[in-house]
């Protein structure tokens, strides 16, 4: 038995029974990282010393019989989430030497359970991208096929879990950044309901869209992590306590909607085939399936690519060469700002700042930003109407298989189009789960299940019911 192949649940059982220690588990994962990270590059930094110390502390708790389910669990944390004392670069040159001065709330919660932090995971710079190619420090490779991208922006988190370099990971999802890499790497990913998880200590990207969530090997493991990190936090005014899910779950009482607008040209035929076959499996188990319509779907990506850069251009104004990290110097204050941002930010980050600045600038605000916010209302109403009839919505997570490294690097719009099935969820604020349902060759196919606000328990129940999960 290899320790790094176990799930959270299996690892917890072994720790409880004394079959192995948290230190054994930690050392096994560190060995795995040493062996694989040079090829996959899931981790930007590894904190070997800290992880070993945390594992020893976890063993102390276990020996006292005080262990929780995440005690001693080795994790990878996306590098835009602050772990006090560790570098937090958001994969950007502008924060290359930035050390987190405090813990994000999710990290505080994991520390209370004595989870172990192996290191910080690679990502697209400031979480802007769908391939992890926008990292300032190098590309993460897809563990299922090293010539392909892992998806993004939480590509390091997904690759770490997929290659057993962590038992779980945290990512952030602004328009698909947990779900797309989870689908590309063949792991489970959850984008929680907006507000279910505190964003305190997460580098702000697009604040009305961002959520932190888990990536794990199984649906059950994702649920375990979600339950630990969620909850109201006084440090994030948008956070709330999730109402408890219904205790009883009966597949035969569940109604699922299949939005006809999600099965159009552009989707890979093999992906569509696998998704349809997964839907059939649910039908065979007694789930009622019906076609629904989300009529404004075609506008979602356009509205998203106005709202997202607009919020980003405001949030990233703080990286000015004065308060954090890199400073280019300059002859006067304006020069310092211009040079620091011009040299510190990579091409995609600058592209989004420009796009957002344009959309918010005088004369264009009504045509772009205000219109996008109105379209957002239309999309929200589509989902509200759909959820009057159904309990969950099934869609593909991605229209295409993981693409080759470099394939879309020179065409930003084609990269944006990869997010076509994931962005609406963030605009509306609802939760969505993705898990692998099949493989075509080496490449996994992910099914996305979208739920009602705070309907995470329905998503987990549906996910667990899938044959083989």
């Amino acid at each position: 038995m290899k320790l790094h192949e176990l799930t959270i649940k299996e690892t917890a059982q072994g720790l409880k029974s004394g079959e192995f220690s948290a230190l054994d588990v930690c050392k096994d994962y560190l060995g795995r990282i040493k062996e694989l990270n040079k090829d996959i590059f899931a981790y930007l930094s590894v904190d070997e010393k800290g992880a070993l110390k945390q594992a020893e502390e976890a063993d102390g708790l276990i020996s006292k019989g005080k262990a929780g389910i995440l005690t001693g669990m080795p994790s990878a944390i996306k590098d835009n989430i602050m772990v006090c004392g560790l570098k937090c670069t958001s994969a950007s040159k502008i924060l290359e030497n930035y050390v987190a001065p405090y813990d994000a709330t999710v990290i505080k919660k994991l520390k209370e359970k004595k989870a172990v932090f192996l290191g910080k995971a690679n990502m697209d710079e400031f979480a802007m991208g769908s391939s992890t190619e926008n990292s300032a420090f190098g590309v993460t490779k897809n563990p299922r096929d090293l010539s392909r991208v892992p998806g993004g922006s939480s590509g390091g988190s997904a690759a770490a879990v997929a290659s057993n370099m962590a038992v779980f990971a945290l990512g952030s999802d602004t328009g698909g950044s947990i779900r797309l890499p989870a689908a590309f790497c063949g792991v489970v990913g959850l984008k929680p309901t907006y507000g279910a998880v505190s964003r305190y200590g997460l580098t702000a990207f697009a604040s009305s869209l961002d959520q932190i969530g888990p990536l794990a090997k199984t649906v059950e493991d994702a649920k375990i992590v979600f339950e630990v990190i969620s909850g109201k936090d006084p440090m994030d005014s948008t956070s709330v306590d999730s109402p408890a899910g219904a205790k009883e779950f009966d597949l035969k009482k569940i109604k699922v909607g299949i939005p006809k607008e999600y099965f159009i040209k552009g989707i890979d035929a093999k992906i569509e085939e696998e998704i349809r076959s997964a839907i059939k499996k649910y039908e065979d188990m007694g789930v009622k399936v019906e076609e629904i319509s989300l009529p404004h779907t075609d506008y979602a990506l356009a509205a998203y690519y106005i709202i997202n850069p607009s919020e980003a251009s405001a949030n990233l104004a703080r990286f000015d060469g004065i308060r954090y990290g890199y400073s280019a110097g300059g002859k006067d204050l304006l020069d310092l700002y211009m040079e620091t941002k011009g040299k510190g930010f990579g091409p995609e980050v600058r592209r989004r700042i420009m796009l957002g600045t344009y959309a918010l600038s005088s004369g264009y605000y009504d045509a772009y930003y205000l219109r996008a916010q109105k379209v957002r209302t239309l999309i929200k109403k589509d989902f509200e109407k759909a959820f009057e009839k159904v309990d969950a919505i099934f869609t593909p997570t991605s229209p295409i298989f993981p693409f080759k490294i470099g394939e879309k690097a020179s065409d930003p719009l084609s990269m944006y189009l990869v997010d076509i099935y994931t962005v609406s969820v963030n605009l509306v604020g609802v939760p969505a789960l993705t898990f692998p349902i099949a493989k075509v060759g080496n490449l996994p196919v992910g099914l996305q299940i979208i739920g009602k606000p705070f309907g995470e328990s329905t998503l987990f129940n549906l996910g667990n019911a899938f044959p083989g999960n």
Partner: protein, 93 residues
């Protein structure tokens, strides 16, 4: 197609130094993206209220008392500092 002058104006508003070569690149890329975004024009948004957040928000208040002082840690991260202060270039001539 947006003009080169517009690209330069946006870059200045955003405080981004960009080269002449980049100006041409961004002109092309931003125009392509904005062309795609044009499709929003077909949506009927008359009588539709804008949405800024997924759910309605409530203000959060706390007692006005000092908490753990993180000041030194935060100032430590600034590239230019003196004593316990962040140093900024002079803004008045």
């Amino acid at each position: 197609m947006i003009s080169k002058e517009e690209v330069k104006k946006i870059a200045k508003l955003a405080r981004l130094a960009i080269s002449e070569k980049e100006t041409a690149k961004y002109q092309k890329e931003l125009s392509l993206i904005l062309d795609y975004i044009e499709k929003m024009e077909k949506a009927d948004v008359s009588k539709v209220e804008p949405t800024s957040h997924p759910f309605s928000l409530e203000n959060v208040v706390r007692e006005d008392k000092p908490e753990k002082d993180e000041c030194a840690n935060l100032v430590e991260m600034a590239p230019d500092k003196k004593d316990n202060y962040v140093k900024v270039k002079s803004i008045l001539k």
